[in-house]
Symmetry: D2
Subunit: 433 residues, 4 copies
């Protein structure tokens, strides 16, 4: 009997009384195992992009993170696998050398079974420490950081694997038993929701000084003057993006950033990443399916999202415009826990109520990823977590159908380079008033 | 007898009574000729970077711009050189095909003499139109745009040529007769100038609706909440950057953006572009010279500027922080008209007074280049001038020693990719309060 | 209990009475399984070079070869796995599209278990055909070709895997139980064996017209005038190559082909592929071991072999010089069946007797790989087997410690590009008389 | 008045009484000037391929060769331009560092005028030495080598320039006054000339031990068994190559070497380099002209020549087959001195008489470029002249319409990589008997 990852993810995020740190740890760690459960050791080795990683590596790296940042600070700790340190260090130069990112798929050793055993050992020791009360405040903070980190890798495990399985000419499904979304009333035309100029508090107070977790790149909370603008009440749909294609959107250089147009030409883009050339079906984690015209369009690069918004006479929202609206909404939606692992259409919530800000698709913003005024990276090696990537990337907001529920919030900032297409990335239109 | 480009550039920008459009046209066009005067036809063909252009191409392209945008709209105009349209179109896809950028150095034909003749023909016809009053409002606007455009290319002509001559193992000077700067009192330690949080009007009203020229990327003028911060009263000096080097700045990955560090490794950066390995001399348009420790450091990439600011416990200024201060200062400084064509040290202006915001070196900011809220590109093909490059680049402010005087203003936004080093680019430190 | 591949390979090649075709088929097919037996499914997926292939792919492709060329010609044959045809076609354009070579490592599906099941099905059907006497002469020829083909892939499986395991920072052994060579009397100084000019019959009569198997690239047998020359009686040793290194061989451009020197610089070559930087140990299929100074040097590119020969005041032998000598020797030596999977030293055989022409290391020759006069490729799709690679490669002769015994002969021509280092490739010195 | 290069070249090679060394020197040096005479300084700077060189560089490098190898050995010689040594050293690592080949087009300094002045100085001093009888035997040999070297560069100057001018969208002619070939009787069908197997003396006795000049790669003269074969009596014509195209030759992978097919796909080859897509005209040094169906096809890569021969049911000749026939023919033909600078049709010479072995087009052979048995490179730095390129290239024979008359001979071996198309390269069919 297969473990339901959705159930486990739900357990990790939706308990009625606040779970203890130990409970949260167990739930998050189990959720990773559940996601990996459908995979053979061979599937778990796949790396089809230099910037993607094998599932096995995700499972090992997240464990290495706990070992290094939590167990490693305990008195007398000896590395569980000294030879593996270089393999599963991602990019922490202050910790030591790291195996080349593009070659993570070349690690047949350690085996998946060994990595799972390593996970179990780390879990055992973390559990021991928690039970014995050996973790000081900093260690508990790093434990919490590690859980957030692992949730990020849960999503990457899915997106990386989706690309890898699709790269095989056989294009097998990740799971054949993924439920199809329940038919819903039509999504209806998008509605503009208008917002006057105003000063908004953006971001989150810096953790861990402030108790509620947020990444360093969300801090400090600070005042921003958000200009008057309108936001669509829902993400752009497949049908709307299809109209862009049918209108020659991929053939008109005037709609594109110069660099995006060069990419369109060089890589012969003519539709979103996982669509078939007939524009009728799309590859999903459940295999090939008919495109739902009402569902949010997905797997767009920033270049495509930007060009389509321009074609529509609109633009991408600024990240603060997005956050100003999202701050008033519950961070609920079609997350990975729903078990669909694909964006779905949602009916209108009525006039003026935005839908699907959270879940379904990450929404590209017009905002280049950078530091907030007063930004301070986390202390120690954790300083390398976010800050050194604040260049050449764009902010995405709101989480996706592959994001663990409970992981994102209104102030959460994801980021990818503008040509990246393998994330569950779509867009919501905005315009100036 | 050699024509003095400095004198001509001055003529083009500093007349006491406002020059007529015809006078301005003549002055700007002459200034380009003056800059090219020291060059042989061979020098004028050099292209040492895919993103740089030969001087001959600059001379021709700026003329093509006037022909296309001004003469081309006149009744009965026949292209002066139909075969050259593709050669000297830079990147206007709405106009037609363009010769590959990286191959501009392969154009031995037309010859420099033919290009100069073409310039003269364009000038003749523009002059005729102006005298006859044939240019309507739009044509006069395009004429004005063309003059600004030509001034940008005057600077590029110098920076591209500097790189090209330096790429020759003989490393000849562009001009042997460039004056050395007058010795000045020491620049002294930099002083922080503090600014409280405030709402600032940023940018320029949209031209041509508004009479005063500004590029579309500076508009619309809009309100921005600028956070509390401090700005250094002068750009970072060679001596200060040398301290960064001596402290191992080029060897410490923790100071760098991840992408910048990769570049440092791949291209073995260990000092600014034109410094000698002994860190004692630098290549200038006047040839090799001893480094002036007090002069602003120059020819840095954004990566180097950003890393050095971090090392200094500071950061790069946001472009609005810069503009908020610069808006109150005259746009005067060491521009190309001064005839030095190299940044120089300036004595302190006294407590709280910023110096060298304009001229000397373009100042990298922390701001990714993007659209202002409400941005509308210029009409017609001129829409391609700026907007399609709003991706993957950083804003620089204030002009340099190679910028024609009168060309820049507080709201002016220059932009280059973060790895670009061949511009006269430096930095001014900022920090949070 | 692990199956001994050496024993099986021996069975396949050394039976006292000539084995039947069915027996040979079984033995060769079993030998592949034995070679793969130590591998996990994860090991079997590794592809560390664009020109190498995963072990799983080798196992599948060789089966596809039998299915296409033998079963595929049988009446009523339906492809066993229609979807796999594109995956396991290597490069036969006349058969159909082929999965990109550099992406063979991305095939987690079919699984290793499925591939082994596919092998069993192919074996079952081939066996049925043989028993039923359904294979006509052409089919039996293709069966024989398929066995030779599979033996080639047995060697490639080992060389590709060696590189892949070495590319993992853990550098595990393929097998920990590989026997070390028995200590032998010292190899002694190499002796020159002189040969006067003479006309030699080179190559093999064209198979299948002639009964004895040979590849098409060995035919037709033809007369060649071999010049007067001397050949060393044994391959160059590790100690001799070490002297080349110690004498600055990797730092002297005058010893190298221009293209080879560029490669030395670009890839920082300073010793054979699998040596450690201290020049004391080498990575083998049995893990890291001390270098045996007397053993043949191995894993050289043609560039290294050529440069070292020049340094020694000698040259590489022409392929006809090699064959003229080898034709008189039994094709015996340290082949894969010996179970060592590494070259070893052999004592002198006495004056004038060449040793180790067969086995131990493939010997680079001075001969570019090309067609013999009168060359005719095999009929049908098998024409693509050898002929289309007759460009840009050099001939190697004699087989190696990873070649199945019985596979090579004096006329056998292996070929690789001059920069290839991952084969068991060494050299034997020659000189003009 | 323009100097006729053809006249000068003729002077250099066809005087009735043997010219003195001084006369030959003057004639060859003048011929280079004549070839460069139609070029502006801008034309002389063009470099459109990494493996091509600007005309100015050819003029300077050939002078540097004389200065280094002849004047440099004279007592008390001081380098005429010490700073230029690195610029104009091509690839002689034993002499010192060399400017990067791909950046030869970045040398605006020295100017063309300075290079011409440098040439004059070298000529003056060489003349002085010759008159004074100061050159010993070795210096006189190097002088002779330098003349051969300069003739090679005369051809390269033309081929490199042809590509460079063609790369300009204006595609100007090198000279507008090139005469068109005189109409000739039709070339007629090609006739096979058969040759039985025989032993042939191939190559030239080693110069300078032997008095008659030959490059080191033509020596030693040695015996080769040339197999029975037939050679076409003339090169393949444009009409014949057009039939290959019309029959789908560029679309059938089975006709091509695997590496050639990859190149066809990657670079979208569908006809010879300088043909127009309509297959009706070709770009020549005299500009665009109608294709002459009877003229030899030209500007083929080895891959195209090889594929077309295979399509024709034939093959490329081995270089010894070619030489065995050519040795009996005068080295006369359509060389550069004829002033046409383009291949032309020639009428049949009657049964069994081969035509156009010399001149018109270099003929690709099936032979990879390698050393003859007993090959010894020239002494000193001249050893780098030929030997280090004996890898990855194919031999061409016979000279072309751009080769100075008198430069080639039956034993002459030219060599280029198989993808090179910018030489005047065609083919002659051969087949086995």
């Amino acid at each position: 009997m297969q473990i339901s990852s959705a159930a486990l993810l739900k357990a990790s995020s939706a308990a009625t009384t606040p779970p203890t740190l130990a409970e949260r740890y167990r739930a998050v760690r189990q959720a990773s195992l559940a996601l990996a459960a459908p995979l053979s050791a061979e599937d778990a080795m796949l790396q089809s992009l230099p910037d993607a990683s094998p599932a096995k590596w995700h499972l090992a790296h997240t464990s290495w993170f706990f070992e290094h940042f939590v167990l490693g600070t305990q008195p007398g700790h000896q590395p569980l696998q000294p030879d593996w340190q270089v393999l599963f260090n991602s990019y922490y130069q202050s910790i030591g050398p790291a195996h080349a990112r593009a070659q993570r798929g070349l690690l047949s050793r350690p085996t998946l079974a060994q990595v799972l055993e390593y996970r179990a050992q780390v879990d055992q020791r973390i559990g021991d420490c928690l039970r014995a009360g050996h973790l000081d405040a900093v260690a508990r903070q790093h434990l919490l950081l590690g859980l957030q980190h692992e949730q990020q890798h849960q999503e990457l495990l899915l997106t990386d694997l989706k690309h890898a399985l699709w790269s095989n000419p056989l294009q097998p499904a990740y799971r054949d038993d993924l439920p199809l979304p329940t038919p819903t009333p039509a999504a209806g035309a998008a509605v503009w929701i208008e917002h006057p100029e105003r000063i908004v508090e953006i971001g989150a107070p810096a953790w861990p000084a402030h108790a509620r977790f947020a990444y360093d790149n969300e801090s400090p909370r600070h005042r921003v003057l958000v200009p008057a603008h309108a936001l669509a009440d829902r993400p752009l749909s497949n049908a709307e993006f299809r109209a862009f294609i049918d209108d020659g959107g991929y053939r008109d250089p005037l709609l594109w950033m110069s660099e995006g147009w060069a990419r369109v030409q060089a890589e012969c883009w003519s539709h979103p990443l996982y669509w078939d050339p007939a524009l009728e079906r799309e590859y999903t984690l459940g295999g090939w399916r008919a495109l739902d015209p009402d569902a949010p369009v997905c797997h767009l690069s920033w270049f495509e999202a930007d060009a389509c918004a321009r074609w529509a006479g609109a633009r991408l929202p600024g990240e603060f415009e997005w956050e100003a609206t999202a701050a008033a909404c519950p961070a609920a939606g079609n997350f990975a826990d729903a078990g669909l692992l694909h964006p779905v259409a949602q009916p209108s919530l009525g006039a003026g109520a935005p839908r699907q800000l959270f879940g379904d698709v990450w929404e590209w913003t017009a905002s280049a990823y950078g530091a907030y005024p007063g930004f301070r990276p986390l202390a120690g090696s954790a300083a390398e977590y976010n800050g050194k990537f604040m260049c050449g990337q764009y902010v995405l907001r709101g989480g996706s159908c592959a994001t663990p529920a409970g992981h994102v919030r209104a102030s959460y900032r994801n980021f990818f380079p503008p040509a990246a297409r393998w994330q569950f990335s779509g867009l919501r239109l905005a315009r100036d008033l």
